[in-house]
């Protein structure tokens, strides 16, 4: 059986395939009836696009398998994806993941029906201010206001993006976190309207891409609070040559520095006299 993707379907799959090439999204695509579903390799991000015009047979393949808009289902259960360029033709053959396709479509539908407890609409501009080097983003929505937090555990600092005027719509009370790489994929399709559910977010990305993104959680999230300073892992050695006088509290090197500064001030006074 042969079929050909229309321009809209091809655009979506080619775009996802391109995201895979640049390392932003690694996953598989499933086609069934009027829908295309893309699931990333960690199974925590699902992107769905549908159209009344489509009527695909059920199949699935890795995004890196996608070669072109022309498909053929062979009798032995394989799929051929091909494209023609100039006087040449490129074809890729891969197994048809029919059962997986059906399972993921059902899973998507069951999660999409769940109730929400908060929502937020975010533009690409807001997200562009996030630090792409950090691994996670935390979203806090309270009293109609939102903020995006990122924390660098190595440096111990926290970064916060929030709106100066209430332009972005936010409702409910939300505290959740996402893997930044997956979160940013949502914004590849335009502005994102998010509806927060227990454990995940339902998102409408751009005009017609629906997405589910799994939340994550960790200690110390959602607060603008720096971590306590850590030692380097070695036990500090007692410096016996500089024992503090009895009854005098020490606070590491700070006390020593204060004493030095005092001595320096005294010396300056003497010199100025």
């Amino acid at each position: 059986m042969k079929f050909r993707l229309d321009a809209e379907a091809e655009r979506f799959l080619a775009f996802c395939s391109q995201l895979e090439t640049v390392g932003r999204l690694k996953g598989r695509a499933f086609l069934k009836g009027k829908r295309i579903l893309v699931v990333n390799s960690y199974n925590n991000l699902l992107l769905e696009k549908s159209s009344e015009k489509w009527n695909f047979p059920t199949l699935g393949f890795g995004l890196d398998m996608y070669e072109g808009r022309e498909f053929e289902l062979t009798e032995d259960g394989a799929v051929k994806s091909s494209r023609s360029e100039g006087g040449f033709r490129v074809t890729k053959v891969f197994p048809r993941e029919q059962k997986e396709a059906e399972r993921w479509m059902q899973l998507f539908d069951s999660y999409w029906q769940r109730g929400r407890f908060g929502s937020l609409t975010l533009s690409r501009d807001a997200v562009s201010l996030l630090d792409k080097e950090l691994s996670h983003v935390e979203i806090v929505v309270e009293g109609g206001k939102w903020r995006l937090l990122q924390r660098d555990l190595y440096g111990g600092w926290v970064r916060c993006v929030e709106e100066r005027s209430l332009l972005q719509r936010a409702e409910g009370s939300v505290r959740t976190a996402f893997v930044l790489r997956d979160f940013l994929v949502l914004f590849e399709f335009g502005e994102v309207r998010m509806e927060f559910c227990e454990g995940f977010v339902k998102a409408l990305c751009g005009r017609d891409v629906r997405a589910l993104l799994a939340s994550c959680d960790y200690e110390g999230a959602y607060e603008i609070k720096v971590l306590e300073e850590e030692s380097h892992g070695r036990k500090e050695q007692e410096d016996k040559s500089r024992k503090p006088e009895s009854g005098k509290a020490t606070d590491g090197g700070a006390e020593e520095v204060r004493q030095r500064l005092k001595r320096l001030k005294r010396l300056r006074r003497r010199v100025s006299r």
């Binding site: 699902l46 190595y154 799994a214 959680d217 380097h232 070695r234 590491g252 090197g253 520095v257």
Partner: protein, 464 residues
């Protein structure tokens, strides 16, 4: 000009580093998010993503060393492991490697103390290895099995100190040593611990087996030892242990690693006389083999009021200057009657033994990994001025020990032969490239050849 005088002149080239304040604390460079969990669409619930390191036990580290392309004795065996070694030697970079590894990949790194392998597992594992390899023709074997068939001594204490206080209670290393004795298999122990010489049972086991001990002693000055190795046994304890070991008939080699450049003639004489007193006749040395500009090691030196740059900057990664000074120091040691060898490629031609660990004459029943850079340098020197091709070396290795350990190691050794990596023949004193063939450089050893390291030092030693 004696060693100390040369060093003093060259040290003027390194600016003294002043710091405004000592004792500032820095943030650990590696941390993981704690209590991490993620929602799973497939399971419909939150799942714990913690990755836990086994706290009580490790699988053994019997392996061919990463340096096998250069080293004639490249089998490591470590029975202990931990986040941080309690000896707290400030020049130790292995602590940072482990710390970086564990904190980056595991969630329970704060709970990891000293772990040890299961002796029963280790015995089974080693037993199977010995059954497969010992007494077999090495030509039909590869890698670890081939090394065992050659009876290359196993080396304890490469990744971690295996004779800490916990060993007194657990006796894991002791069990392993007894097991090796039962197979009459040779082993060598790198340690700073005095346990081996203090506990009669360890002494007995060592004297019954084919064993040698590399006792690390980088200085004889207790005050400096305290600053550099704060929790390690004192110089006196180590020397007493060494005396007991020597008296029990165990080969003890003083290990001076890292070699400290700024040692004075008086220091050297004091060091040698103490070694002589306890009966040590062999010394092995090496330069500091890690970039001294690493911020963490450097910070620890500064905290102790030591200028790392003065002590180690010229000394690290076998730089030519340090290599030259090391050679001069080895000459001093020879004048004092010691046999000494080094892994520093610059001085390998002058080593008193072909094996830089100073145990070639001790492990007489063993065949070593001659298909290594150290082997190659010794081969070229042995040819006494005759041009040596790579093919000649390969033939010699075949004849001497039945070939290279693995094909990969042969390739790595060839790269080193052709000067394509840091530890090559190109570093070695007296090595002269005299031609090229289809395999690369043709080398010749020449005693008359001016030493490029000496030229460099003399160029630097201007009067200020």
């Amino acid at each position: 000009m004696r060693y100390e005088e040369k060093v003093r002149k060259a040290l003027r080239l390194i600016p003294r580093l002043g710091v405004f304040m000592r004792g500032w604390r820095f943030r650990s460079p590696h941390l993981r998010k704690t209590g991490y969990r993620e929602f799973s669409f497939e399971d419909g619930c939150w799942t714990d993503r913690r990755r836990l390191l086994k706290k009580e036990e490790i699988r053994s580290f019997v392996e061919i060393s990463l340096r096998a392309a250069y080293c004639p004795m490249p089998i490591n065996l470590d029975v202990y492991d931990g986040l941080v070694c309690p000896y707290g030697c400030i020049y130790c970079f292995a602590n940072y490697f482990r710390y970086s590894l564990y904190t980056s990949f595991f969630d329970n790194w704060k709970e990891v103390g000293i772990r040890h392998c299961n002796p029963e597992f280790l015995k089974r594992h080693l037993g199977r290895l010995f059954e497969r390899a010992l007494g077999k023709d090495p030509a039909g074997l590869k890698g670890l099995e081939k090394a065992i068939a050659w009876r290359i001594p196993l080396r304890f204490g490469i990744r971690f100190e295996d004779f800490l206080g916990v060993e007194k209670r657990r006796r894991v290393a002791l069990e392993t040593m007894k097991f090796l004795n039962s197979w009459d298999y040779p082993y060598m122990i790198n340690t700073k611990s005095a346990l081996l010489g203090e506990d009669p049972e360890y002494l007995r086991v060592l004297s019954e087996g084919k064993a040698a001990v590399h006792l690390t002693l980088i200085t004889h000055r207790e005050e400096l030892r305290k600053r550099l190795e704060p929790n390690a046994p004192s110089v006196d304890r180590r020397l007493r242990a060494a005396r007991n070991l020597v008296e029990a008939g165990v080969r003890v080699v003083a290990r001076m690693e890292p070699f400290i450049v700024g040692m004075t003639d008086e220091d050297a004489r004091g060091y040698f006389s103490l070694l002589r007193e306890v009966g040590i006749k062999n010394i092995t040395l090496d330069t500091y083999s890690y970039s001294a500009v690493g911020t963490q090691v450097r910070e620890l030196f500064f905290r102790k009021g030591l200028d790392l740059d003065k002590i180690q900057l010229l000394n690290c990664d076998s730089q030519p200057l340090a290599s030259y000074w090391l050679g001069e120091f080895m000459e001093e040691a020879r004048r004092e009657g010691f046999s000494c060898s080094t892994f520093d490629m610059g001085n390998v031609p002058d080593n008193d033994q072909n094996i830089c660990c100073e145990v070639e004459d001790w492990f007489t029943g063993s065949t070593f990994n001659w298909g290594s850079t150290v082997g190659a340098i010794r081969f070229v020197k042995m040819k006494r001025g005759k041009p040596c091709r790579w093919k000649d070396f390969v033939e010699w290795v075949e004849e001497k020990c039945g070939g290279f350990l693995t094909d990969k190691l042969q390739e790595a050794c060839k790269r080193s032969w052709n000067g394509e990596d840091a530890y090559g023949l190109v570093w070695a004193k007296g090595m002269e490239p005299v031609g090229l063939d289809e395999d690369g450089i043709v080398w010749r050893y020449s005693e008359e050849l001016s030493d490029f390291r000496q030229v460099l030092v003399e160029g630097c030693s201007y009067e200020v």
